[in-house]
C-alpha cells in the first residue's frame, strides 16, 4: 500500500478542504460531528503531537452526567447529550474552561435505555441534537434557543426499543439522519433551516442504531448506511443512497453477525463494516448506473464496541477486544498488536489518541506500521469508570468524557 501513499495523502487533503468548505462557521480544527470533520475519526492537528518528549496536561475537568453521546466541538463550544438517569439534556460548555453556557432539556428516555448515545452536529450557527426521545431539535449554537423540532416518532413512525441512538450529520444545508422508521423512512434529509423534508429513502433493510456517513464511492457522492436485516438470524450490511435525492444506489447484506458501528469509508472505493465478531472490507465498482459490491476480506478482528478504527497510509489502527491492532488495509492481516485493554481512538496527523474504556488513561501513540510506540500517557478519568465515548480533538485540545465527567487535555508547552 505504501506506493499509494501520495494518492492517499492528496485525497485526504481534498477531503479536509471539502468538509471545511461545506461548514463555514465550524472552522478548520473543529470537531463538528460524530467521528470528526471527516466522519472517520481522523483529522489534521498542525503537528501538535510531534514534540519530543511529549507531555500531556489536564487543562480542566468537570462532572457532566451520564451517557455516551460524543463530544462535538465548534466555535469554541463543546456540545454533548447527558442524563441524570431520568432526564436527558443537551449541554454546551466553553471549550476553554468547561464553563456551562446553556442546557436544554430533552424528552424522557425510552424505557429500555437510560443514556443518550447520539452526538450533536454543528452546522453554521445551528446545532442539531437527537436524544433517545427521538425528537430532532435544531437549536442555536450560541444560546440553545429552539429553531425548529421534528418528532421522528410521529413524523416517520419510529418505534425503536432503545429510542434513537443514531448521530445525524449536515451536508449541503440538509440534516441527514437514520430515523429507523417504517419502510418509507429508513434515511431522511431535512432542510437545516426549516426542518422541511427534502427527501426520504426507502431502505431495503433496517438501519436502527448506527450512524450514516457521507462518502464518495465510485465517483458518486452518497450516504453510506450500516443496516441490519430484520429477520433472525440477523445480518449486517451496507447500502449507499445518493446524497442529492436519496435514491438507493446499492445494498448488500453479508453473512452472519451484527453491530451498531458506524461504517468507515476508505480510499479506493472501499468501506469497512464492523460487527461484534468480525470486520469486512467491502469494495465498490460502478459500471454505468450499476454498482457492484465485493468483499476484499473478512476477518475476526477489530471487534470494538465503541468506535471504528482509523485509517492512515494503507493501514488500519483500532481495537480488537483488549488489543490495539495495526492491520494492512488491503488484506486485513495484522502488522502488530499491543495489549492495552478495551478502548477507543482517533487519529490526529500521524498520532493516535487512545482512550481506555475503563482505566481512565489517555495515550498518544505513533500511527505507524513499524510497531507500537507510545509517546505520552496521562491518567485523566477515574480508574474503573465506564468510558464508551471516543475522544474528540479540536484546536490543540483533546476532549474526553465518560459516564460522569468531561476533561480537556493539552500538550505541555
Amino acid at each position: 500500500m505504501s506506493g499509494l501513499r501520495r494518492l492517499v495523502l492528496s485525497l485526504s487533503v481534498m477531503l479536509v478542504g471539502a468538509a471545511a468548505a461545506a461548514q463555514p462557521a465550524a472552522g478548520a480544527g473543529d470537531w463538528p460531528r460524530w467521528l470528526g470533520p471527516n466522519q472517520n475519526g481522523s483529522t489534521a492537528g498542525g503537528g501538535v503531537f510531534q514534540r519530543t518528549p511529549l507531555r500531556l496536561r489536564k487543562a480542566w475537568s468537570r462532572p457532566i452526567g451520564g451517557g455516551r453521546s460524543g463530544l462535538v466541538v465548534a466555535g469554541g463550544r463543546v456540545f454533548s447529550l447527558v442524563t441524570d438517569g431520568e432526564a436527558q439534556v443537551a449541554l454546551a460548555l466553553g471549550a476553554g474552561d468547561g464553563t456551562e453556557l446553556w442546557r436544554v432539556p430533552l424528552g424522557p428516555h425510552a424505557a429500555e435505555s437510560m443514556a443518550p448515545v447520539g452526538s450533536p452536529v454543528v452546522d453554521g450557527e445551528g446545532v442539531f441534537v437527537l436524544g433517545t426521545d427521538c425528537v430532532l431539535r435544531a437549536l442555536t449554537a450560541a444560546s440553545g434557543a429552539s429553531v425548529w423540532q421534528v418528532d421522528l416518532k410521529q413524523r416517520f413512525g419510529v418505534a425503536l426499543r432503545r429510542g434513537c441512538e443514531s448521530s445525524p450529520f449536515v451536508e449541503n444545508g440538509r440534516v441527514i439522519l437514520q430515523p429507523g422508521g417504517a419502510d418509507d423512512h429508513r434515511l431522511v434529509a431535512l432542510d437545516a433551516q426549516s426542518g422541511a423534508l427534502a427527501w426520504s429513502a426507502k431502505g431495503t433493510e433496517r438501519a436502527n442504531y448506527s450512524s450514516p456517513v457521507v462518502a464518495e464511492l465510485a465517483g458518486v457522492r452518497q450516504v453510506v448506511v450500516h443496516h441490519v436485516t430484520p429477520e433472525p438470524p440477523q445480518r449486517s450490511g451496507l447500502a449507499g443512497f445518493r446524497l442529492s435525492d436519496g435514491a438507493l444506489l446499492w445494498s448488500r447484506s453479508f453473512e452472519a453477525n451484527v453491530s451498531t458501528e458506524t461504517p468507515l469509508w476508505l480510499p479506493e472505493d472501499r468501506v469497512l463494516l464492523l460487527t461484534w465478531n468480525d470486520a469486512k472490507l467491502a469494495t465498490l465498482r460502478r459500471e454505468g448506473d450499476r454498482f457492484e459490491v465485493g468483499t476484499a476480506w473478512a476477518k475476526p478482528s477489530l471487534r470494538s464496541r465503541i468506535s471504528p478504527p482509523v485509517y492512515k497510509d494503507g493501514h488500519l489502527y483500532g481495537f480488537d477486544g483488549d488489543e490495539l491492532v495495526c492491520l494492512r488495509a488491503a488484506t486485513g492481516e495484522a502488522v502488530w498488536k499491543q495489549r492495552l485493554y478495551a478502548g477507543s481512538l482517533i487519529r490526529v496527523d500521524d498520532a493516535l489518541v487512545v482512550l481506555s474504556a475503563n482505566a481512565g488513561l489517555v495515550r498518544v501513540v505513533e500511527a505507524s506500521p513499524a510497531g507500537y510506540r507510545e509517546k505520552a500517557q496521562l491518567q485523566v478519568l477515574q480508574r474503573g469508570a465506564q468510558t464508551e465515548t471516543p475522544p474528540s480533538f479540536a484546536g490543540r485540545t483533546i476532549f474526553v468524557r465518560n459516564d460522569e465527567e468531561i476533561a480537556a487535555i493539552v500538550v505541555e508547552p
Partner: protein
C-alpha cells in the same frame, strides 16, 4: 482433645469456599478477617490464568477454577499456599467469546466430599476427583438431556443437596434435574420453566421447608429437593436470560436480582402449599452480576456502578456510594469489592450508617476485565480476572 479437633475441623470447614458465592451461596463468610487499625494487603502469590469468568472454589488447601488455555477449556486445580498447579482437566474445546464476551468457562466449580462438579460452557456436566482431576462421571446436557445452549454458553453452577446434585439444565425435557452425585444417575427431572440462563439454584429453608429456589427466565420458583415437586412459583414477566442466583433471606424472604431490577418476595405457607408475594421492586438494584449481601439486617447491593445499602423491609436506599462496577463478598463484616474494570480491591466495613472504606489497593491491570466474584479460602482473599489469579492476605 476431641473437642479441639472438632473445633479445628469446624473452623477449617468454615474457612472453605466450596463453590459459587461461598458456603451458603450468599457471598458471606464469617472469615475470620482480623483487620488492624490501618489495614493493609499483601500479595502472597500471583499466577497467570487463562480467560474465563469462572469463580474460584477453595478447599482447605486447594483452589479450583475454569479457564481457557487458548485451545481448550480446562478446570485447573492449584495449591492455595503457593499458586502452583496441581492438575488440570479438559472440559472440551474452548468456548470462543463473541458479541463482546470472553473466551472460556463461566460456571464456578462446586466442591463436595472430595469431588469437583462443574458445567462446561458447551454443556458438559463433569464430576471430577478433587485429588487427581480424573473424571468420575460425565453427561452432555445438550445431547443427553435436551438442554438449549444459552447465548454465551452454559454458566450454571451445580448445587449439592445431600446425595443429589441439582442442575439448572434448561430446555424443555429436563429443565431442572437432580443426579446422584456418586454415580451421575438421573434421579428426577422437572419442567417448571422452559428456558434457562446462567443462574444457579440455591438451597434455603423457607416457611419451615427445605427447598431449592430457582431463578429461571420467566419465573422464580422452588422445588422439593427430594423429587423436584413445585412448591411455589412467581412469574417474572420477561423471557430474558436469568443470570444471578436468588438470595434467601431470614424471615422467609427471597431477593431476586435481574439485570433490569431486583424484587423481594415473601414466601408464605398457605393451605395446600406455599405462595410467593412480591413485597417490593427496585430498579436501582440493576445491571450487575454481584451477589447481594445481607449483614446485620441490611442489604448491600450493586446497582450498576453504585454500591447501595438497602433496608430489606421496603427496598429503601439507606445510603449509596459510587464505587464503579464490580462484585462483592462479605468477609467477617467487611465488604470486599473487586472492580470489574478498575482491577482494584476495596475493603469497606458493612454498616448502615454509611460507606466506610478501610482499604483500596490495585490488584490487577486497570482495564482488564475482572467480572469474577472474589472468593475467600484458607484465610486469604482469592481473586481472578481473565489473565491472573492473586492470593491476598488482608490484615
Amino acid at each position: 482433645m476431641r473437642l479441639a479437633l472438632a473445633l479445628v475441623l469446624l473452623l477449617s470447614t468454615r474457612s472453605d469456599w466450596p463453590g459459587l458465592w461461598g458456603p451458603a451461596r450468599d457471598g458471606v463468610t464469617p472469615g475470620p478477617l482480623p483487620l488492624g487499625a490501618t489495614p493493609s494487603a499483601r500479595v502472597l502469590w500471583r499466577r497467570p490464568i487463562g480467560s474465563g469468568f469462572s469463580g474460584i472454589a477453595a478447599s482447605a488447601e486447594r483452589g479450583f477454577t475454569g479457564e481457557s488455555d487458548g485451545t481448550d477449556d480446562q478446570i485447573v486445580c492449584f495449591d492455595l499456599a503457593t499458586g502452583r498447579e496441581v492438575w488440570r482437566a479438559r472440559l472440551g474445546p474452548t468456548y470462543r467469546g463473541h458479541d463482546g464476551s470472553k473466551d472460556g468457562p463461566i460456571s464456578t466449580p462446586t466442591l463436595d466430599d472430595g469431588r469437583v462438579f462443574v458445567v462446561g460452557p458447551k454443556g458438559g456436566l463433569f464430576a471430577l476427583d478433587g485429588a487427581s482431576g480424573r473424571v468420575i462421571w460425565r453427561h452432555d446436557l445438550k445431547t443427553d438431556y435436551g438442554a438449549a445452549e444459552p447465548s454465551y454458553g452454559f454458566g450454571t453452577s451445580p448445587l449439592v443437596v445431600g446425595p443429589r446434585l441439582v442442575v439448572q439444565v434448561g430446555g424443555s425435557t429436563h429443565n431442572l434435574a437432580a443426579f446422584d452425585k456418586t454415580d451421575g444417575r438421573l434421579l428426577w427431572a422437572v419442567n417448571h420453566a422452559k428456558t434457562t440462563g446462567y443462574a444457579s439454584p440455591v438451597l434455603a429453608t423457607l416457611a419451615g421447608r427445605a427447598q431449592v429456589v430457582v431463578h429461571a427466565a420467566e419465573a422464580v420458583y422452588a422445588v422439593a429437593p427430594e423429587d423436584g415437586a413445585r412448591l411455589w412459583s412467581h412469574p417474572l414477566g420477561s423471557a430474558g436470560e436469568s443470570d444471578r442466583a436468588p438470595l434467601a433471606l431470614p424471615g422467609d424472604r427471597v431477593l431476586l436480582s435481574r439485570w433490569e431490577e431486583s424484587r423481594l418476595l415473601q414466601i408464605e405457607a398457605v393451605a395446600g402449599g406455599f405462595a410467593a408475594r412480591e413485597v417490593w421492586k427496585s430498579p436501582r438494584l440493576r445491571g450487575s452480576y454481584s451477589p447481594t449481601l445481607l449483614h446485620a439486617g441490611h442489604l448491600y447491593a450493586m446497582g450498576g456502578p453504585t454500591l447501595h445499602c438497602v433496608d430489606p423491609a421496603d427496598g429503601r436506599v439507606v445510603w449509596r456510594e459510587k464505587v464503579y462496577a464490580g462484585s462483592l463478598i462479605l468477609v467477617d463484616g467487611q465488604l470486599l469489592h473487586l472492580g470489574e474494570q478498575s482491577g482494584e480491591l476495596r475493603v469497606a466495613t458493612a454498616s448502615a450508617s454509611g460507606y466506610r472504606e478501610r482499604l483500596r489497593t490495585p490488584v490487577f491491570n486497570a482495564g482488564a476485565t475482572s467480572t469474577t466474584t472474589p472468593s475467600f479460602g484458607a484465610g486469604r482473599v482469592l481473586l481472578r480476572n481473565v489473565e491472573e489469579i492473586v492470593a491476598l492476605e488482608l490484615r
